[in-house]
Homo-oligomer: 487 residues x 2
């Protein structure tokens, strides 16, 4: 049984550490680093959305749904951690385009990539990367995606977006599983014949156990009805993800019981589906369920889940779970077989072990197979992360964030609970959905902080990696004021 | 029943017309248009792939499958219709990155978009377009995608690639169908509950009748086993696509019989699946099956198919087929409900009628929802197509191409057959797969022409829209020489 890891966010890999500790709020901002060229703080001119955003929304409404549009942005004017909208409102961005801006807005290094004449051809001519890659393709992969590949992964396949990454990772798992089953990559004539008419044995009745939003990915997401309702799905097994109490270290006994229950159920499901003849080819997991409400589990849980999948696999491959590259916490030599990514990586794609790369051409293929311009930008992003030591920075900022959130939930216990996080990948629950959506998020925005929700009543914090301690203090100050006003 | 049209290529919309006629081969090149700055012709220095390509392939092999890689390209040096590889070979490109380069390599207008400082923010900061679109978003959609929207389509949804476009178009069809069935966009509590666990009624047992390569798209493609084998699929009905004889006007009687057979079978399948309670929510069709082997059907066939879907639909919507925007040939006021696109449009996405736009937020949603940089480039592409009159150009070049192909199949009837095409979207069959793959395509490439195959033994011609008559003559000369040498 293979295991696939869905990754969302660089920041999620950052262990909380012994960096600077948070002092209380109304914090004095430390002197800025010289390379910081961003703004001093938020600057609000109108309510958000302001009049210009509203006019633009009316225009867009004629051709597209605008029910999800928050406001329109001035991406030229945005800088670092600050997002500027079309009404001139400048906001501290703790959501970063649903966690997909790695090193802040308009980082000078990325601007340089764009103005380098030797990159022009890549931006103007989009290659079919699988057939006619550009000269620097390998080099950019080596210095980009492979430079941050999780340990044990030697291969990477790029895709255009997160859904396509997961869909094709699932295909790779199924192909791998069937090749092992029949002991050969060569299909029988009957398999070839039936595959083109959607029938077994060519299209086998295999399943994935899961804890995306295209039709395959939809079968492995279970958070929000709105994304799945009315769309046909696969009858694939769904294991419960542990619902833990936070902070984790204060509820170890209860949480261990909950995790044991979930592990038992996962194993039962695998046995049951295998007995039905609908073999489980892989286990798909997000190590921190983000969209689902920022649900964490202990590292021990993932180690045991990997053990279960290894026990039930047929071909000496393991099956488990992780997050970019959160699975490195688990202390496993062989934590997973496929690790998918998107968002802050700028390109979609997945890392895979050698044995998962299909043996024959065109088994995993589409016209573009990603977008090489994103590889150019990612290579620069990785260079900046290393040069500016942004992973350590995120550990320090994350510590300030999480301690600040603990303080706030103590202070406003009627309103906030379950603060949790690793690095700056933090979250907190609000007392109910309506308070979160219609009061807290909107009021914080009008005070100059962009936030986003996940799950039913959670606020997720997804700052860029250039989010420093003083940004965290600034956010906590404004968040504190926002809640104080709600009392 | 809804109908979805999968589109691949601008060129496919071009009717053969009464433009310049082809004269025979060994043609004298006409004086070039002044704005043309490209090369005089192919210039070959090595066999392809050359030594540099081979070294790069070895490097890439360490991290990715290279079985599909033809050669590595120098996209900076490529220009207009000429693709230059890393060994300095300059080839006339009649395949254009699997039909995805609309106006040739390094068109000066696109270079201008890239060097315009006011576009910098868009290229450096990728927005979550569904939530925080950039200021110029509507404007670029209006001057880009909506400026070429097929008649009757007022709305467009962008996606990152072709597969995601089709997957989400399918979702839109299912959502629309269920809303009509229950008479309301409001689901029942039971539907909400079951949707998150992949069960009916929330995830209904609906089907699409089809004639992509993610899991949903895979269920509606039936050409190549290699793309489907080993991957679970949906048990959805598959109607035969007419297998016609070419040229169409010489085989009208036989072809009409074949089309009648296919229409009857399509209707039978709809009735049969509906009777099973697995209602057909939509019909998906490519008006020219490209990947499947460049299969055409008569305009009458599509009109009748739309008629059948209208008869069996439950909600007064039609269901039929088309291609960008080939469906305009059919002479129907209401040819389809959704038209998807990718490739030459630079961005993925689909046009839809008002009633297909989901009523509630986040029903069709992902982080990026496309890539606004592609909208910037597309807006410029459309301007160039209009300014340079490239649709008329493609009609003229297409006429040269097709007449030349007819001549060649007469001359080499042991080798070539079934020449067909609309505009420059042409194809011809080779006597067998091995001759096509291992002789014709490779030898033509070494003579300086890049070609691609489709189906089992077809060569598809997919030049850019800047492919002029003299390029067509040049191609035909080289193709003629290639085949002559094979005798």
């Amino acid at each position: 049984m293979a295991s696939s890891i869905l990754n969302r966010c660089l920041a999620s890999s950052l262990r909380p550490s012994l960096g600077l500790s948070a002092s209380g709020y109304r914090h004095q901002q430390p002197a800025k680093r010289v390379e910081e060229v961003e703004f001093d703080g938020p600057c609000m001119k109108t309510e958000v959305p302001g009049p210009r955003s509203k006019i633009l929304a009316q225009q867009l409404e004629g051709i597209q749904s605008v029910v999800q549009v928050n406001f329109f942005c001035d991406y030229e004017e945005s800088k670092g951690n600050y997002l500027v909208d079309v009404d001139g409102n400048r906001m501290l961005d703790v959501y970063t385009q649903i966690a997909s801006i790695p090193i802040g807005y308009n980082h000078p290094s990325l601007t340089k990539v764009m103005t380098d004449p030797k990159n022009m051809g890549t931006f103007v001519n989009r290659p079919a990367l699988g057939m006619m890659p550009p000269e620097q393709f390998s080099e950019k992969l080596v210095n980009g995606l492979m430079a941050v590949a999780p340990k044990g992964f030697s291969r990477v396949q790029t895709m255009a977006c997160g859904s396509c990454s997961n869909e094709n990772a699932y295909k790779a798992i199924f192909i791998w599983y069937r090749n092992k089953m029949r002991g050969s990559p060569e299909p029988t004539p009957e398999e070839v014949r039936t595959s083109v008419i959607n029938q077994v044995p060519g299209c086998p009745d295999l399943t994935l156990l899961s804890h995306g939003r295209t039709l395959g990915c939809l079968a492995t997401t279970h958070t929000k009805a709105i994304q799945k309702l009315d769309v046909p799905s696969f009858d694939w097994p769904i294991a419960p993800f542990p619902q833990l109490r936070y902070p984790l270290d204060q509820f170890e006994r209860e949480n261990a019981q909950e995790e044991a229950r979930c592990l038992e159920e996962a194993e039962d499901l695998i046995v049951k589906w295998n007995q039905k003849g609908r073999h489980v080819a892989g286990v798909v997991i997000e190590p921190i369920q983000a969209e689902g409400g920022d649900n964490h589990a202990s590292f021990d849980f993932y180690r045991k889940l990997r053990g279960i999948t290894k026990k039930w696999m047929r071909c000496r491959r393991g099956g488990s779970t992780g997050k970019f590259w959160a699975h490195e916490h688990w202390g496993l030599d062989d934590p997973a077989d496929i690790v998918s990514f998107s968002k802050k990586m700028l390109t979609g794609g997945y890392y895979q072990k050698d044995s998962f790369q299909p043996d024959m051409p065109f088994r995993i293929f589409n016209t573009w197979l990603g977008d090489h311009t994103k590889n150019l930008l990612l290579t620069e992003v990785i260079k900046v992360i290393k040069t500016e030591n942004l992973l350590d920075q995120a550990k320090r900022s994350g510590k300030v964030m999480l301690e600040g959130l603990y303080d706030l939930q103590d202070k406003y216990s009627h309103m906030l609970s379950r603060a949790r996080g690793i690095g700056t990948f933090c979250a907190i629950d609000v007392k109910d959905e309506d308070t979160r959506n219609n009061l807290l998020l909107l009021k914080a925005r009008n005070k100059g902080v962009v936030l986003g929700g996940c799950g039913t009543q959670t606020i997720r914090f997804r700052p860029a990696l250039v989010f420093r301690e003083h940004h965290a203090h600034l956010f906590l100050d404004i968040f504190n004021d926002t809640i104080a006003e709600l009392k």
